[in-house]
Symmetry: C2
Subunit: 213 residues, 2 copies
DNA sequence: TAGATTGTTAATCGATTAACAATC
DNA sequence: TAGATTGTTAATCGATTAACAATC
């Protein structure tokens, strides 16, 4: 076990490994090798072994990795062995889609509350698709208080760009330490607060460079 | 102008520069420097100058960059000076959100058609939020033909994971060269076809590593 | 055991930064 | 002009890969 600081780029690959391992487990497999896992995720076997070795020795020479054990260890490392509550701010199209998204359940996350500042929306129910599970859209004016009382550390920011920085400031004030930002601008946050950006137009532009129209 | 191959990582930063420049332009600014732009995007000034120098000399010593000109050049480089038609496959929650998303219009993209294989959904209208603009959900069985006839080169894949690879194969067959994949698995595509992945759970897990629950 | 595969080291490769002449 | 900022080079830094002893 190496206690030194792990490079961000190594950390960023761990969720990819975990997702692939969960798929292998779902397919009924119990062991895998760095070579096989590498083919699944598009990363070299040496890279995977080196990444994992930052956190411990999880494999066995000759046989590879026992999948349930590696899933358990990676889940612990990423702190997703328990479920995180997440707040959603901005209940436009993206906000609604995020609340209804079925892909968080088995990955360590659960939408716990959602907010908007539009009087037309506040108080409305949002169905999640999960039976017996719906949310009432809360008043954004109570956001700091509600998030702090619920001890929520993660938020998905789905407001228009014009409101995003101000909302981010409030989220930080409320104790949120990680923001998944769907607004198309870079958020400024204090050190210690993590931000990840999702901007589909950016991803599309990363592809068109290589494509003939 | 350097005609050598530009590293992928440089290309991946260009859309970020472009987005920041468009925001500066919207704010009424006409010139900027690598230092100022760097502060906006969180990238060093030297890095920005080096990245841009891969494609030409766009600045002036002493004054920096003329924003409209740099926007024009980056738009050309990324091939977003004209609008790309995009197909959406899988009209669940994500598919609907993507069709209604207002953020593509001024970034070089337009949803042109959408598909599903569910008889309940085929033929239904999807409102986009843009006045007088709605789509009829098309039958996925005609997808290859429809996409090829419309000469569409970009698609957003919003099906469940179980269908994603097969859909991707059909998209490639239809002539699509870039796929924005919302399904939580890695797609296998021939070389020459670009894929970008958006998986919100991955992004959340990249933050929880650093956060105390 | 013999074959397979790990964890780790050293070598390679590539990306970022610092510095500065050129020049607007 | 003098100050500012570019484009570019060389130096630094960090990440990836190849190779292999250890060992299951």
């Amino acid at each position: 076990m190496n206690a030194a600081k792990v490079p961000d780029i190594v950390v960023s690959r761990l969720p990819v490994y975990l997702r692939a391992l969960q798929r292998l487990a779902d397919a009924g497999m119990t062991t895998t090798s760095s070579k096989e896992l590498g083919e699944k995720v598009g990363i070299s076997a040496a890279q995977i072994r080196k990444d994992l070795s930052q956190f411990g020795e999880f494999g066995k020479q000759g046989t590879g990795y026992y999948i349930p054990y590696l899933i358990e260890r990676l889940s612990k490392i990423l702190k997703v062995e328990h479920v995180w509550d997440v707040a959603v701010v901005g209940m436009g199209e993206i906000g609604h889609a995020v609340v209804r998204y079925q892909g968080f359940g088995n990955r360590g996350f659960r939408v716990a509350m959602c907010f908007d500042n539009d009087p037309e929306k506040i108080g409305k129910q949002v169905c999640t698709g999960t039976p017996n599970c719906s949310f009432v859209i809360r008043d954004a004016r109570n956001m700091v208080k509600d998030i702090r009382e619920a001890n929520i550390k993660l938020a998905m920011l789905c407001t228009p760009a014009s409101a995003a920085q101000q909302v981010a400031d409030h989220l930080v004030e409320a104790g949120v330490r990680g923001i998944l930002n769907y607004a198309p601008l870079r958020l400024m946050v204090p050190s210690g607060v993590k931000v990840q950006h999702i901007d589909p137009a950016i991803y599309l532009q990363r592809m068109t460079y290589y494509i003939e129209p």
